[in-house]
Amino acid sequence: MAMAIRFPITILAMALILFAAPPLSAGFTPAKVGAKDKCPVCGMFVAKYPDFVAQVRFRDGSTFYFDGAKDMFKFYLDPSRYLPGRKVADIVAAFVTSYYDLVMVDAISAWYVVGSDVYGPMGRELIPFAREAEAREFLKDHKGKRIVRFREVTPAVLRPLD
């Protein structure tokens, strides 16, 4: 019986590797941005900037979209400021758009480059990557300052980006 359950999981894992899909936020898949979705932080329509979209999923299934990792972090660090009543503890998944392949990757395990010459719709950005090697190469190519992980992003990191 145990084998019967494990078998499809192995196949799933293999499929993930085959299609180079990023590790997901605990089994959640990124949702698609709608034309009317607005960034809760800056109020801009997100669908216009598909190369930078980030998203946060809450336990109740509601998803919010951001036009860049920077706004997503601002929200994540203080959700109730932008959407009263929302708490960090209720967030179950977060995704960002990786720079090189423009696909949604898990925000928690992503690598972010700060201070590069690539600007997003909201100006200076944290540019996300699924793999460290990508982030290192990008840092070199685009005059980035440093690489940060999800947990290292604090208001102090975000402040110079505004």
Binding site: D51, Y99, Y100, D101, L102, V118, E134, E137, F138, D141, H142
Partner: protein, 377 residues
Amino acid sequence: MRKLIERQRNILDFTLSSLLRRKGKNSALLLVYTGTIFILASVLFLTGALRREAALVLEAAPDIVVQRTMAGRYQPIPLAYAEEIGRIRGVASVWPRLWGYHYDAAFRANYTLMAQVESPPERGTIRIGSGISRMRGARRGDIIALPGHDGQSRSFTVGQVLDHRSQLLSSDLMLLSEKDYRDFSGFPTDRATDLAVRVRNPREQSTVAEKISRMYPDTRPIMRTEILRTYDAVFGWRSGVVMLSFCGAALAFGIFAWDKATGLSAEERKEIGILKAVGWETSDILLMKGWEGMVISLTAFLGGILLAYAHVFLASSILFAPVLKGWSILYPEFRLSPLLDVGQLATLFFLTVVPYTVTTIVPSWRIATVDPDSVMR
């Protein structure tokens, strides 16, 4: 309401018969007017259609094309380059392209030969563009023989006549399988004409291009934006030349129309005077003149547009051919896909019909307000 329409109808009726009374002068005006609109509309249609062709070219164009140069001339590029370029971060895919030209001495035409990678034709069969099909009278199943690089003739069966949206692109195209192409052209097996590179993130294109030229200094990466600029320059320049030659004609028409419209002839003054004397009001006369201007310019406008449409899309712009096809005289005849842009037509309308109608009304109004007695005297 009915009375209003009746009034307009009567005045229009009178206008038409008054126009017919001065046949010679009005038909000369109509001719020049139609001619001007014809040329202007031809230019607009042509540039619009060319731009659309360019857009279609770009739709299919790769993000970066990598060419190899030696002493500033293009050289076949080694396939090994493709692998290395594929490893650059940000590159989604690299595929070698095999293509070239072939001069057909019998029909005195240049063909573009290309090896098709996706769903290639079977060996020994080719797909040909509609221009070649027309010129050689070749249909599906016919056999075309072409002399290869070694002088030996090779025969191909026409598997399909391409029916592509963009004729400018596919008109002179011949698609072969890769093996056939290498055999026909003598292209070395480890080389390709150029490499097409797809970069997922458009922001990263210039970085990738930079890395390629650093990696292989003998290559020249051409970005999509550069292709776009070149096409724009080519088409812009060509339409500019046509536009310039048109300017003279437009100016001549302007003078002619101004003269006709502003200075009313003695006969017309007299007509206005008589109409006033028999009881027409100034507004009726203005209405009549307005109708007159509208009849002439609308006729000229519609006639000019129809002629221009036939000229550009049915007759392949024969009048502009020397200017437009300068880049390749050997090009088989091509037909642009018809395209009518409402915005273009509206621009043309407001630049010709409206000013003309207005200029005819103003002088009439000046005369119509004068005492009929002094006009007729």
